[in-house]
Subunit: 177 residues, 2 copies
């Protein structure tokens, strides 16, 4: 199989610099090779003032997202996930996920979509895929404000960094769904 | 079955004023009643200047969307669509849909998602659901720069306005997919 490596709209200058970038170039790879169609949603912005003469927004504010950052389609199935990095070596702080996002993730699962988090422990050089159901199970059974690394080692799946695609999370999904 | 009518975050003051609003309140209805989970994507905005001290964006520009405006999940299946109104009584101008959006729609279909347009002929008081495949077939077989109303009457499906939900496009999908 021949893989197309590049897509015109992507800037590869920052390749591999951070998790979001790794995911974006992996999504480009999935898209040009017809493996999956997954996009980052635009950041929600509340526009409050527009200079119509110059088609320019002159006042606006970032809003908290109420859904997860990425969604799309893989083999007809609905996929939605969020990606987070942590500097901690021992746990992932749950304050990184808003209440509205948890509600939304719960609904995605109820509607038979595939929901998950991609969490990178930057200082450990490890990237995990944690299924939404395992996140919700943790929240049901624990009062902790962070998910310990042990829980990731027990329930989540390691996503290896490779050359193409950079972060092959679809390969991990293939194994577990 | 008891239906929840309202959702806290929605402003119903403009109810029924236009197509986008009709779709948004229908999506709220689908969501609170666990029928489907469909959201409007945020408008893509390129931020070029931020006043970090006041957490305020001071210069930004609207960008052309490269995907369709709404996406989500219905019974595990991926849904994506766009909504357009036309003042014409005889045809829908294709310049309303960008090249990138057509490419994206084609890909959604290739990945076995459900893609369509909701087109309202405002002056005729008629709202149609046109499946993506029928849009693409038209483009393949015609050089016209607009889709005539006859094509809608032949290939598309009327979506009736009702009280709840306002615009029941899921009911139409149930019949045709």
């Amino acid at each position: 199989m021949n893989y197309n490596i590049t897509k015109n709209t992507t800037n590869y200058a920052n390749r591999g610099m951070n998790l979001e970038n790794d995911i974006n170039i992996s999504n480009d790879f999935y898209q040009v090779n017809n493996i999956a169609l997954i996009n980052k949603k635009p950041t929600p912005i509340r526009v409050s003032r527009v200079d119509y003469k110059h088609s320019k927004i002159t006042e606006a504010f970032f809003e908290k997202p109420s859904t997860l950052d990425y969604n799309g389609i893989y083999r007809g199935k609905y996929i939605e996930f969020d990606a987070k990095e942590t500097q901690s070596k021992t746990s992932f702080a749950l304050m990184n996920i808003h209440k509205h996002q948890l509600d939304h993730l719960t609904k995605v699962i109820e509607h038979k979509g595939i929901a998950f988090l991609i969490i990178r422990f930057t200082k450990l050089n490890k990237t995990y895929l944690l299924l939404g159901k395992d996140l919700l199970n943790f929240l049901k059974t624990s009062n902790r404000k962070s998910i310990p690394l042990e829980y990731f080692n027990e329930k989540a799946y390691i996503i290896n960094l490779t050359y193409l695609p950079r972060l092959d999370y679809i390969k991990v999904l293939d194994k577990i769904i």
